[in-house]
Amino acid sequence: MHIPDGFLATPVWATLDAAAIPAAGVIVRRAQREFDESRVPLLGVMGAFVFAAQMINFPVGIGTTGHLVGGALLAFTLGPGAASVVMAAILAIQALVFQDGGVLALGPNIINMAVVGVLAGYLPFHLWGAGRWRKWAIFAGATLSVLVSAVLALAELLISGVHISASMLGVSLALFLVSALLEGAITLTVIQALEAIQPNFVRRPAEGRSFALGAVGLTAVLLATVGVLFASTAPDGIERIIQSSPENGYKTGAGLAGVALVWAACFIFGRVITRRRSA
């Protein structure tokens, strides 16, 4: 879900732009250490591939079609670091050339889709991608990547004071779930087709990776995301604080603290995962 300019409240987009800058710096430095600029053409071309892939219609019966987002697919083939860089590049081109997503909103969009989305997609694969549950890991990862990004975007909008009725909220979440499950199905089918062509295209999560750490990471990301959503919608405790304060600052603050938590969780676990891989 690409958030356009004008939707988010100033504290929200400003904080997320500020958070995105070091996040982008870390990811890029990590990608650069692994790749040096020789990998730029590969990442660029695979970004173009994802763009093209997003346009392909997947018939899902009853006359509707679904589309791939691609963050998880990139993570399972190029690795999470490269996938984040590619998704960020895609978002930048979409915002600048196609006016799909805002420019000030690039920070939030990158955090939602290129950072948290990719990480949430990769963690199940990191945990279970090497064993019997590989197919489920791929499916779950792809589903989570879209679901988490969408929920975060929704939360950011709510924090910005965009009022959405409870029923509309339910409908939105249901739609997100459907598109997330679709992403899971499409990604799994494409990965299987890829393995038939050239098994080396798809990564094998390294042996000896820390299960406990990965599990904690995944739980943290999920809890924080859900937490942010509830914090942004919960009426009681926060409203009381708001009524007693002259401005909306506290609600915004609480929600932003939650988003910052999500970002911090990704940051830490992202570094741990790469350190493990290069060890």
Partner: protein, 223 residues
């Protein structure tokens, strides 16, 4: 296609086209922040900002209706959202922001814009990836659409689409390897070098200051 039009517009030669990309980026950011932070009674401010953007578009010899129409691509999503959230103020904000971005991109060739962003501190690796992405975007999109129509003419199904995607992945990967070989064949040392530094002139400074000041002043007096 849109990108062809956009590239044609960006190769113009007006005063606006010739300005340093950093000046345009700075003015754009100021404009976007002014719009994003505006609240309350928006109609008059929105109209004034629209006139400001239109003047720049005309000065840059861009077709005004073309620009307005292209910026309108954000409207469908925004209208739906404005209805759901009962926030009509969303519409002018989003539209003006899109129009401003479009004008900058329509007066600056993308490689030059990226050089400007790099000079302002954006991560080089990310910009180079975006540059290669854009270079091969339409090549691969076309390839993808050929494959899809081929698959569809044989009775499209979910599995067929996934298979087509996998083949497109493999072909793209192979293309990237060819590109790498072509780079090595011409002595690629592991990093890219650029053709020229940007030169910020007095005219660029004046433009940046004035183009930033106008929206701010409008906001302070009207908004």
């Amino acid at each position: 296609m849109h990108h062809v039009v956009l590239e044609r517009w960006s190769r113009g030669n007006t005063f606006i086209h010739q300005r340093d990309p950093r000046a345009k980026i700075a003015a754009l950011i100021v404009f976007l922040v002014v719009v994003a932070t505006a609240h309350g009674e928006l109609t008059l401010l929105a109209a004034a900002l629209f006139v400001f953007l239109s003047i720049i578009a005309v000065w840059a010899r861009l077709p005004l209706f073309g620009v307005m129409a292209r910026a309108g691509v954000v409207l469908p999503f925004t209208l739906v959202f404005a209805a759901i959230a009962w926030r009509p103020a969303l519409i002018p904000k989003t539209y003006l922001s899109a129009m401003a971005v479009l004008i900058v991109v329509a007066t600056t060739p993308l490689p030059l814009l990226m050089r400007g962003m790099e000079s302002l501190g954006a991560p080089r690796f990310l910009l180079m990836v975006a540059q290669f992405l854009y270079r091969y975007l339409f090549v691969i999109v076309e390839e993808g659409q050929h494959m899809v129509s081929a698959a569809r003419s044989r009775g499209g199904s979910f599995r067929a689409a996934a298979g087509a995607l996998a083949v497109l992945f493999a072909r793209s990967y192979g293309r990237a390897e060819e590109i790498h070989r072509a780079m090595l064949a011409r002595g690629f040392p592991g990093y890219f070098r650029t053709l020229g530094a940007l030169r910020f002139r007095a005219a660029d400074g004046c433009f940046a200051v004035i183009a930033s000041a106008v929206p701010v002043l409008l906001r302070m007096t009207i908004g």
